[in-house]
Symmetry: C2
Subunit: 413 residues, 2 copies
Amino acid sequence: MNVEIITIGDELITGHTVDTNAAFIGKNLTAIGLNVRYRSSVGDSVEAMEEAFHLALKRAQLIIATGGLGPTDDDLTKRAIVKVFKRNLVFHEDILEDLKRRYRDRGIEMPAINQNQALLPQGARFFPNRIGSAVGIGIEEKGKIFIGLPGVPIEMRQILIDEVIPYLKALKLAGSTQVIVIRTTGIVESKLAEIIAPGLKLETGVRLAYLPSYSGVDLRIIASAENDTGARERAQNLARYLEKVCGPHVYGRDNDRLETVVGDLLRDNDKTLCVAESCTGGQLGQLVTSVSGSSAYFVGGLVAYANEIKIELLGVPSEILQQHGAVSEECAIAMARGARGSFGTDFALSITGTAGPEGGTDDKPVGTTYIGLASPHANYARRFRFGKDREMNRSRATYAALEMLRREILDIK
Amino acid sequence: MNVEIITIGDELITGHTVDTNAAFIGKNLTAIGLNVRYRSSVGDSVEAMEEAFHLALKRAQLIIATGGLGPTDDDLTKRAIVKVFKRNLVFHEDILEDLKRRYRDRGIEMPAINQNQALLPQGARFFPNRIGSAVGIGIEEKGKIFIGLPGVPIEMRQILIDEVIPYLKALKLAGSTQVIVIRTTGIVESKLAEIIAPGLKLETGVRLAYLPSYSGVDLRIIASAENDTGARERAQNLARYLEKVCGPHVYGRDNDRLETVVGDLLRDNDKTLCVAESCTGGQLGQLVTSVSGSSAYFVGGLVAYANEIKIELLGVPSEILQQHGAVSEECAIAMARGARGSFGTDFALSITGTAGPEGGTDDKPVGTTYIGLASPHANYARRFRFGKDREMNRSRATYAALEMLRREILDIK
């Protein structure tokens, strides 16, 4: 069964908003074995939507559209649905009552504009929205399924996961595709390819993609077969090969994130962590604490942006700053040691670098970054040379710091 | 002139990667007055690309495709271009020489696989890539323009900005569309609509969209007219109306970001800032320092994730934690005061809350957050009630803190 995802909104085609909805939907449909084959976006225009819906109904069996279901005037999706499927809008008393009750519970009177939200195309099913006011809409016609969801990400996600996925599963639409992602870090794409290519034999129906990002390179396996067992076996065969040849560069699979992997290592070993950050300004602390339950091992951090703060609050000797500068191995080590002392943790990570775009020198061009690690056994720092982009440099430094800690805990040289 | 953006890669349709390229391209083409009308994605399959390219050549005059131009085996875009345009690949000695020279400069031998990068469709122009190995490809045929760019974001961006935009401008393809974004924060979409709707009169060719995000609600104006002056005037008329009725909720226009607006206010008033963060774990510091040059006003921050750190390093009295808990007005104020004292700044912002998903109580459910502000004149905190999603709560708290500081500096009540 071919799937098309259509995201709706001027902001998506003019690039004002990055389209995270399509990725979320694609991921979750792929995970239940559906074959997402088309993905498109249109602006807030009834004609453009009609055109996109007609094309999708021609080439896909399942269409999921998001956006344009809100109560404001630029939300036109329902009008396009009515035209394409030639159905009238019907008023649903129960939807309105539910909406009114939820406003009452919050002690607010429902804005009159929300009455529109109780109008649905004739014969459509609806998928309840527990967060916002726009319900999801489902239409089955001539062997095709069309589903319209609101575009606010948190609402779309709730409805997709709680309502739409169970509905699709009940229809037994799942095919036989298996996806496995092998996650690597600390090695570039071309080097990985040199390791992987020589012994690589791709079975029929198996595809491998290299997906580089700030956190490392993911190796994505998509395996198709006649049935689930076959697909799983093909994917697993390749996964095992990749894990063998890539060795310690692999930190996890699928939804493993480096920050959760490192967090689990800390928790399992009953160790604690603090951080001292300069150029990343708090990004390492943010990433570590993005994991729910990170308070079990993360104690805190110091953002020492100004040099005086490095001296006063982290105890970096002012001679180090004078002789070697803030972007130096010596400073990184002193920052990590200082933080470890103040916060009383087992491990401390530090980051100091020239994120850019200003501030580079011949000796230490933009992108030069030192990452320090302090532990009960050792204090050391590594020099990295990232690129010219400020955001990229900060992100790469953040992940490189976590990877240093992972290798320290696992004793990988 | 209608534009279609096509992004290529299995990872985009299966949702492994969020498609930031399409947004970047859309934004930059819209900014030069081009009408981005279609946007689609296809996987790493030559047939799917052919289908998408044919469709695009039918309905758009300018097609920009990204992805699948790398040297590895999953990069198939060139094969699809060759088939659709019925042209052979031709070897370009100069491209290979340039690539070899750049590898030499870095002291690395060029991997042999990169020789493919010197093959281009016959008659195509190329757009140099100063970062990676895949050059951009341009084909003009029968009044249509097709441009293929690599998918690595930093390479795509460099080629688009440095090469493709000037090329398009030279062709005088610019139309007459004007986009203005009015940026608001601290007020929800439906409230904004209540303020805006009563006096709103949309001129012909003018569209208004409400775009909510973590940082606030953007009001996007797209105005078209016969010529540039007309489009600009229509957009400006609406922008002035919106800025009048929305008053202090407006913090900027277009590419203004709340963090740069607040940063400029600090710099212009010669004031300094530090932060004390609990549940956000460093995100506020990260956001403030995402602005290049923020060292002029940002001194540093403390991430006090554990309660002992709040007591020991921020000087929060332990009685406050015992009596009111860490998520309290009292604690937020004490954190801000403590940080302001340690870092010696004019202002300090603090954030303490229950980001979730665990940790909520009846009294302080998940999403409850206190934001504190300390200044030479006052110390206070505000209570916020965000939602249930950890990531969302942390982001909203971060922006709400910046907005509190903006209002403090501008003396907005």
